[in-house]
Symmetry: C2
Subunit: 561 residues, 2 copies
């Protein structure tokens, strides 16, 4: 790479929502920004998590100076325990709460003593190699979020992701408009920004409006109040606690991640509660229903979350009953609509009153943590960067963002708004940008304890299995004569209910017998189990499709005895 | 059943959206209302369609006097080809377009000559046994929709599903307010009504507003215009044709169901187009892009639909390019959000401008065909039925509907708004209602050509296969000595990528060998392949979970040779 060039490469998060990770590279120094996970899409069957692909970094670990984190959400820190061991544990920079959230993860993975955690703070610049980094406060749905102003020899880069303007945030740290104005005066080279809410007009409301909705619910609910939200949304949790204290209720914290996050946020001073407000479930026994509130996980309908278990009458400490008011303080992430609906329907079935973001109550029980159109425009107007790269959104979001930028009275031209793709290398000098190549990127799946060994092939097999099931044909063949010694045996799962499909199974066996005898009838040939295998697969697949119009995976097993 | 009792039983559509089917029963006479399919939920893996459960009707086919259909949507007529053969082909009543849509289906299933289709018409009452039925016009997203006023000895039943008020419908047939008022004066006993849009305040806009949006798009789009919508939304198709004619474009009809429906609607006079407006794809060759429009299927992102194929560069006649404007004239049905997003993102990638219902254009390219809150209230205020049963909605919709009814100044009390469940028998006399039992209901799956033999067990297997895949262990055992003759052979799909997991596969084989030799070491016992089977399953499952934290389906096959 030529000198005085800056490279920027997204390893995840471009054209998708999740697994955010950027590489900034200059003069043999690499800075990594964020390192998140993505939750699997519906057709990534059985996959737990999706990681960024770090193939590009593996061969140049020694160049990595640091990983710098903007905030403590899963899609920005979740991949660290899986990936830092492969990168020889570079130092990790983050704000207090972000490192607090990360510490919990590292403990679970027994990695805490191997990682160097470096605390940074809004307004306090620090230098790593030839990069000087100044974090600055931005408002988002988790406290202690920062944007990063990164001084490089080529120019000023501003990495501003997961932010909105909130002039009355619950944690008292609004997006630092003064700092943004100052950065704008320094003629930034490049702005990298999220764009996931570009479809929404106007401004995203302040987190404070949710507190007002909570107050009106707490003022009138006759029985218990159960609020489900993201565990990481500490400000939301704070507002539940505030409303509970104002209206004389105690608060039970339910769900593993909610318990963890609340504990960390309390310890680090990001959450405040009066002595005695937070109680254990057993302590609710002596209270009347209108003295109890519950804050819990499950706002996305996740099957094992506290709220989903309550909705399925499977949560020991909170049995939903008539008089309960359940607040789903979140909107479904695309793909989760059906699970969320199922949970809401079941809560209604159990007699609860359910308040969720689309329902007719009109109460604003959720606001987004991301900037809407006018905020996105305002930041462009303040910073006026030479180049802007939207990411943290689907392809359509990035295209709509470009349209929005181009609509700002000639401030930007088509070539100044760059639409990234994962792995595409963007190279910048003081006054031009170009793409110079592509580094390998793919989906890296986490399934159970293993990273990466569940690949595209495995997931593709699961998709086939899920569609029409599997049918195995097992035969034992004499290894010298090629004759059928035992079988064919047919076993099937997910195709037809075997007990009711005797005829189909029997006729399949006959088809196999015929095919094998026809082959062997022509004279003795050397046994070739690959051929027998293929033969069985073809005749059985065709036969079953003809009979059922379905295509189960046909898996022959040929044993030579 | 006592005399002068009326029974109403939903066999589908209560607490779910789809497979609508009602039974009305009195004095040994049964009337079936609608007979629809439901599209499978995400976890009904590999299932094509879900049907109502007609177990209750099978033993009393002779009592069934008729099936009466309200309109031609899949969730009201789609199950007929699958179920009428099992019900000895009772006569089927429907309006002209409804029977036209049904005829196409019956032809495909080679059933047309066995079914008796009886034409009915709004405003023309007819009698079946002791029921007198008067269909009346209602506005919905397909023309020729009717509500049913059903006179019974016990009282007047009004079956009003899939309707909204639209005083300026495209087909010129608004919901018949005068008829509704007349019915209200006759003190109806029971109203059965849909409630799926109860979360929406105010009134659903007229279909006409979509025409205005189309006009503004057709007036300005520089290249081709491609509009995707539901094939059955004949009024939407009409408005595309109208805009095309107004702005000098020809229209290509793309997608099998769009072609079929358009042909039927043209033949029956429900769709009007000037000579030469509708062209075949080949005829577009001589036209400039701004003279071409396409109306196609795929508004739900269905994988093999015309729009999805265009988005995947797999549709021969329409290759998406820069300058194209694509209009997605629908909102995603819950569960389809991800597929719809994927199609929209790919269209953007190919350079098209995409206009969809949530995007910042603000153009109303879709309106619902269902009534919103004020319309639901207005019908209750006009009809003032003794009892009302909401259906055609999730459980939450039915509960919110009850709340809405109870809020109407004492017009209804809790016991007058009955929340149904599939299979629950509601019995009515002139002044009371009660539930008297439950008939069997379950999901009946259609997969490929077979109905019903894919059951809960098969779908459950597919869910297991989809999560962690399958691992088969095959052994050949000497049937007299119980000794291992060949194997263990291990084959896996959807669990780990076998080529990269030699160690795991080898060690699994060893585990099996150990387990079998330990067992046989203790002395000769009679061979028991069920025991061997169980043994292999247990040791392998435990071993794999310990190694990977995953639980593939373990399927041992024991061959005796």
């Amino acid at each position: 790479m030529a000198k005085n060039r800056l490279r920027a490469i997204p390893l995840g998060g471009a054209g998708e929502v999740g697994r955010n990770m950027w590489v900034l590279e200059q003069n043999d120094e690499i800075l990594v920004l964020d390192c998140g996970v993505m939750f699997p899409e519906a057709d990534m069957l059985g996959v737990d998590l999706v990681l960024p692909d770090i193939t590009y970094l593996r061969d140049q670990k020694d160049k990595i100076k640091a990983i710098v984190l903007t905030h403590g959400h899963e899609d920005h820190i979740g991949a660290i325990p899986y990936l830092v061991p492969e990168l020889d544990f570079p130092p990790i920079y983050g704000t207090t709460l972000t490192l607090g959230m990360l510490t919990g993860k590292l403990k679970e993975h027994r990695l805490l003593d191997r990682v160097r955690l470096m605390k940074m703070q809004a307004g306090e610049p620090f230098t790593i190699g030839s990069f000087t980094i100044e974090p600055f406060s931005v408002a988002h749905s988790i406290p202690d979020t920062v944007g990063l102003a990164i001084d490089t020899p080529v120019g000023l880069v501003i990495y501003l992701t997961d932010w909105k303007f909130d002039h009355t945030p619950v944690d008292g740290r609004p997006t630092d408009l003064v700092k943004l104005s100052e950065l704008g005066r320094r003629s930034p080279l490049l702005l990298i920004t999220d764009c996931v809410r570009v479809e929404s007009k106007g401004y995203t409301p302040s987190e404070q409006v949710v507190g007002e909705a909570f107050d009106s619910i707490f003022a009138t609910a006759p029985g218990r109040i159960i609020v489900a939200t993201f565990a990481s949304n500490v400000s939301r949790v704070q507002q539940v606690i505030d409303s509970a204290e104002a209206y004389g209720r105690k608060v039970i914290v339910a769900g593993r991640s909610m318990e963890n996050t609340t504990r960390i946020a309390l310890e680090l001073g990001y959450l405040r509660a009066q002595q005695g407000t937070l109680i254990r479930p057993q302590e609710a026994a002596g209270l009347t229903d209108d003295q109890v509130a519950v804050i819990c996980t499950g706002s996305q309908g996740e099957p094992m979350s506290a709220l989903a278990r309550m909705a399925n009458r499977d949560y020991p400490h909170v049995k939903i009953k008539e008089g309960d008011t359940v607040v789903v303080s979140a909107t479904p992430i695309p793909g989760n609509e059906v699970s969320v609906n199922r949970v809401i329907n079941n809560l209604f079935r159990l007699g609860a009153e359910v308040i969720y973001s689309d329902n007719p109550s009109g109460l604003a029980v959720h606001v987004s943590g991301h900037a809407a159109q006018e905020e996105l425009k305002m930041v462009l107007a303040i910073l006026r960067p030479e180049f802007v790269v939207p990411f943290h959104g689907d392809y359509r979001h990035m295209m709509l963002y470009r349209k929005l930028a181009l609509g700002m009275g000639g401030l930007f031209s088509n070539s100044n708004v760059i639409i990234p793709e994962n792995g595409v290398v963007m190279e910048f000098s003081r006054n031009y940008a170009r793409t110079t190549g592509k580094v390998p990127v793919g989906y890296v799946y986490v399934d159970g304890t293993t990273v990466g060994d569940v690949g595209q092939v495995v997931v593709r097999d699961r998709q086939l299995l899920a569609r029409d099931g599997i049918l195995m044909v097992v035969v034992s063949i004499d290894r010298t004569t090629g004759e059928l010694v035992a079988g064919p045996d047919v076993v099937s799962r997910g195709f037809v209910y075997m007990r009711q499909s005797d005829d189909l199974i029997e006729s399949t066996k006959n088809i196999v017998r015929d095919a094998l005898s026809r082959r062997n009838g022509g004279g003795k040939t050397e046994i070739d189990s690959a051929f027998v295998n293929r033969k069985i697969k073809d005749v059985v697949s065709d036969y079953l499709y003809g009979q059922t119009r379905r295509r189960p995976m046909v898996l022959p097993v040929v044993m030579e005895v």
